[in-house]
């Protein structure tokens, strides 16, 4: 399974990618929307895991941009905090199941990735 991780916290996203690779995923990471679109042009990702709060464009906006180009890609959102506004939008955009609050439990993420991939 090919997973694209998008988060502006480089230390977080690089480590998360490494942990997913250890678990057998092909995980790549980027820290902004532009890089995400460029990498998705090169690699056909199955799932994108996107941080909601990103500089410039929100995670939901990034999803829309990816969705316009790559209609088969599926999405999971990450958030650092559970503000009510974000939570409501997250539920609408991703559904409760695919909206995770940091710090993430890697086993939970792996389970969700597999479930979403098999949907």
């Amino acid at each position: 399974m090919r997973v694209l991780l998008i988060d502006d916290e480089e230390e977080l996203v690089s480590t998360l990618a490494e942990r997913l690779c250890i678990r057998g995923f092909q995980a790549e990471w980027v820290t902004d929307c532009r890089a995400a679109l460029a990498l998705a042009d090169e690699i056909e990702f199955d799932i994108a895991v996107i941080d909601v709060k990103m500089p410039g464009a929100s995670g939901f906006e990034i999803k829309k941009q990816l969705q316009n180009k790559f209609n088969k890609m599926k999405y999971i959102f990450l958030t650092g905090h559970g503000s009510e506004d974000d939570y409501e939008t997250g539920l609408t955009e991703a559904g409760e199941k695919y909206y995770l609050i940091k710090p993430i439990n890697i086993n939970e993420l792996v389970k969700i990735l597999q479930e979403l991939y098999n949907e």
């Binding site: 916290e9 230390e11 977080l12 250890i22 709060k53 500089p55 710090p103 993430i104 890697i106």
Partner: protein
């Protein structure tokens, strides 16, 4: 801070509480990010430990690298908490002497994540001299925060903000310079009205540049 004191210095208790809430919400988000990174690195150590039990050979440098990453995040968290603590103590005394640059700098650090969310880059220029004033610190912090917020609410694309501090004609100036026209007179005047009572307590003023690319916070004490 009780109601009378806060009112005397320009802020109602409600305004103070809202401001406190905004600052603590921003700081808690920063701390959460740090915790998330520590969590992933601790998890990576567990992953590696499990792999080593299965015979995976690892260079000690790899483990050292992960430990250093955790150390960096702990140091980052320490700075965040230091700033929060400094902010929390800003209501200890009604009138206190402080350095305008130092306070502006830590308020910018607290605001940094919010600015980053709208791709606003801030550069604070360190003045050649120390400009110390004696007034209500909390109100000054409030003004700096809401000046930044005024800009942030009006930007629609990546924006660079440069802040300089000087002392001219017996007035302290905090100058907000933008690389683009961001502010219109109407929203600026509304903002001035909102903070007028605090400005009065500083015998201060807010002046919008003609091109909408800069404004000056003047403090005359």
């Amino acid at each position: 801070m009780n109601d009378n004191i806060s009112y005397e210095f320009g802020l109602t208790q409600q305004q103070s509480l809202i401001f406190n809430g905004k600052v603590t919400a921003s700081v808690s988000h920063d701390i959460k990010n740090v915790m998330a990174i520590i969590n992933e690195n601790a998890g990576l150590l567990q992953d590696i430990s499990a792999m080593m039990e299965e015979g995976f050979v690892l260079s000690p440098h790899r483990l050292d690298g992960i430990a250093k990453k955790i150390e960096i995040q702990i140091s980052r968290a320490n700075e965040i908490i230091y700033r929060l603590n400094r902010f929390a103590h800003s209501v200890d005394e009604d009138i206190v002497e402080f350095d305008i640059y130092e306070v502006t700098e830590y308020m910018l650090k607290i605001y940094e994540r919010i600015a980053k969310s709208k791709a606003m880059k801030i550069n604070l220029i360190k003045p050649c001299k120390n400009y110390k004033i004696k007034t209500n610190l909390f109100n000054f912090e409030y003004l700096i925060w809401y000046c930044l917020d005024l800009i942030l609410k009006n930007i629609i694309k990546e924006t660079n903000l440069e802040i300089t501090i000087n002392f001219e004609n017996q007035v302290y100036n905090v100058i907000f310079n933008l690389n683009d026209k961001v502010l219109d007179e109407q929203s600026f005047n509304l903002f001035v009205k909102k903070v007028s009572r605090i400005l009065e307590s500083f015998q201060g003023n807010l002046i919008l540049g003609l091109d909408g690319k800069n404004f000056i916070l003047q403090i005359n004490i």
